[in-house]
Amino acid sequence: MSETTPLPAVGIETVGMTKVFGSLRALEDVSVKVRPGSFHALLGENGAGKSTLVKCIMGFYQPTRGSLIVDGSEQVVRNPRDAMRLKLGMVYQHFTLVPSLTAAENLVISRPDCPNVIDWANEIAGIGAFFDKMPFKVPLRVPVSSLSAGEKQKLEILKQLYLDRRFLILDEPTSVLTPDEADEILGMLKGMTAAGELTILMITHKFREVNAYCDEVSVLRRGRFVGGGHVAETSTQSMAHMMIGDTKLRERSARLKAGDDKTVLELAALYAVDDEGLPAIESIDLKVHAGEIVGIAGVSGNGQSELVEVLSGQRELEDGRIFIRGQPFEPTRQHMDRFKVFGLPEEPLKNATAPRLSVAENMALRSFDKPPISKNGWWLSPGPMRDIARDLIERYRVKTPSPDTPIENLSGGNVQRAVLARELSGEVEVLIVANPCFGLDFASVAEIRSQIIEQRNAGAAVLLVSEDLDEILELADRVAVMSEGRITYVSPIGDTNRATIGHAMAGGH
């Protein structure tokens, strides 16, 4: 591996690519050309066919029709091994490194010609020589599990380059990075493409990154290629329009001036440990006022999910107190009911529903032990439960065949709407929200963000934990940044900007 000479980048083209799964046309006649040495963006909503397209390119799926041209000649990619041979590589959204192995072990074992007995001195020297030619490096001798998300992402990319892949597909590569890390990595990759060493096809939904780094863009919608071209000649509006078509998005609710300034939720010196018994959150102090959204920004894994778990009673508090309107609050069912604390956790199907219970039963999880569903606290009446569910399904436009359908059969957006209906249909004092829009389509995102603003306008104290900085910049009145389990920065949203927040997010690393 030490004599890697920079080979020219590999270019690909799909011609009339079509993939049919049963009755579903996931991909319909898609022709996309990615020139060698270009940085190409692939845009589209969830379910638009982006991942089907790249899986056809990488040989995970066989296209029903259509062909793939690699460096000018037609190729049949039957499996990922064939793709490897053609120097096509992919960096997945979820890390594919082995956590307990070191970076060096991960690199060496990924090589098809890995020796039976490994001469580590020699291998480390070889990797060192390879790293010298790369724009970024990672520590080689510590287990991958102790690397930061940014370092893991770099290592994923380095692994592909170490294996001499010259056409890289990146699937949402910056979703786990701070803005600074994202800029660093994308900037360096941009340099490599410009030098003709590499071609990149990046799946993303961040227009900022498309505009800053990509040369060309292709947009998919409902399995079809709907447009594209040079990024320099395409406006963000037209890209967004290509992605969503003529779907009407709900108008964002106007932000009203907050009326009373009373503190509703107060976190005082909260401490909790993670699953390994190590400190996850330390000395968290935060006040959220009535009619205010406090956004907690940070790279995932800096204690945000532990904080949400503590507030929703899923994780034990080691030390500290939680107060609501000055009264001590324990995250028990009784207190949540009394203080009107509600939550929209991330991955609602996993964290906020019982997947195999019906939509009606899931909607009643907060109220099944109260009238009218239960008159005496233990005997449930399915009639009123179904009536309430029907009303909520209508008001919150949940698309479900019936109230008795298991909630796991609903699409992601509709599960989130059903949870929204359960949590927000009553009076809300405190609302804990975590990554509410993760993986949802534009229409659902607009709907959910409006609902959060409406709760704020109605006087709820909202704590919004989000890994999407744009979401926080859009919704929050104040922003707090979490880094390594602590709140390192707090500011009213008007007095700060993306760069300052980004630097605070990078803080500890």
Partner: protein, 308 residues
């Protein structure tokens, strides 16, 4: 040879000798379990493998007069048990813990069934290596008669520790145990790796069993193992899936098991049964200390069904 009264020194000496004797089967079974668990599968059937290894090794040594052939046969019989576990676990929707318990019952049951004729006869023992030739104190001489399998076990522990870091096979096993998806993405068959690891683990457990019947206590009977194969599972957790730590933990368990007989040797027989329960109490304490509902186990292979 004059009998020298060593006084209270007898106890540590007896514990030392006992630790080596008692730890040897623990060492083999825990190394076998460590190898299997590193590949991402748990085999609770090693108790059955151990008992069957003890029976088959004893029967072979009795029939042929060669105790080392007995060790080999016990290992091969253990591999067969590992293979059966591996094959069944390859089937879809099969739980390795449940299969392990079934294999444990099956192994002990069939060993008792086939082993009935071998309870009475006397088979040749494995020879001991005499490290006490320089001393005339008989207690010390006895304590320094060390069984060769103990050294084989240490060699296997060191070899496994080295191989997990420095060989392709070792890295593949660790990768399969930590992230099956990654192993698949790299074109390795997760099922095959686990099958081979379980088979090799069964071999080691079988060898551990042959030690019981061919060296110490040195006879075949149905109460031979008394749960050592199961304690080895706790031992692997305690040693955090590190073969070298397995050796240390096996010595600790062996030492705990030797407390009762050592105290008895100087005439303290009060609480004999209590001291004999020391390994079980140790197992319980270790499980309480190392397993907490609030934490996941550090160092555990990510694919293990008990830690997922």
């Amino acid at each position: 040879m004059a009998v020298t009264d060593l006084g209270l020194m007898t106890v540590p000496l007896a514990i030392f000798a006992g630790a080596i004797r008692v730890s040897t089967p623990f060492l083999f079974v825990s190394l076998g379990e460590c190898l299997t668990e590193k590949s991402g599968r748990i085999n609770l059937g090693l108790e059955g493998t151990l008992v069957f290894g003890a029976m088959s090794g004893y029967a072979t040594a009795y029939a042929t007069g060669w105790p080392w052939l007995g060790v080999l046969v016990a290992g091969l019989a253990g591999s067969v048990f590992g293979m059966i576990h591996g094959i069944i676990c390859k089937l879809p929707k099969v739980n390795d813990v449940a299969i392990g318990i079934a294999m444990m019952m099956f192994g002990t049951g069939i060993a008792f069934f086939l082993g009935k004729p071998f309870i009475q006869p006397q088979a040749p023992h494995l020879p001991a290596i005499d490290f006490g030739f320089w001393t005339s104190i008989p207690q010390l001489r006895v304590a320094l008669e060390i069984n060769p399998l103990f050294f084989v076990g240490i060699a296997v522990a060191i070899a496994m520790w080295w191989a997990f870091k420095n060989t392709r096979a070792g890295l593949i096993i660790r990768m399969t145990g930590d992230s099956a998806a990654t192993a698949k993405a790299m074109g390795y068959s997760v099922d095959l790796v686990r099958f081979l690891a379980t088979t090799a683990g069964g071999f080691l457990a079988g060898v551990g069993g042959s030690f019981l019947s061919l060296y110490y206590p040195g006879a075949w009977n149905e109460g031979l193992s008394s749960g050592q194969g199961l304690m080895a599972v706790a031992l692997v957790i305690f040693s955090r899936w590190n073969p070298l730590a397995c050796f240390g933990a096996a010595l600790l368990f062996g030492g705990a098991g030797a407390i009762g007989p050592a105290l008895q040797s100087i005439g303290i027989s009060q609480g004999y049964y209590f001291y004999n329960a020391a390994p079980y109490i140790l197992t319980l304490l270790i499980m309480i200390a190392s397993v907490s509902p609030k934490r996941s186990l550090r160092g555990a292979p990510g694919e293990l069904s008990i830690t997922k």
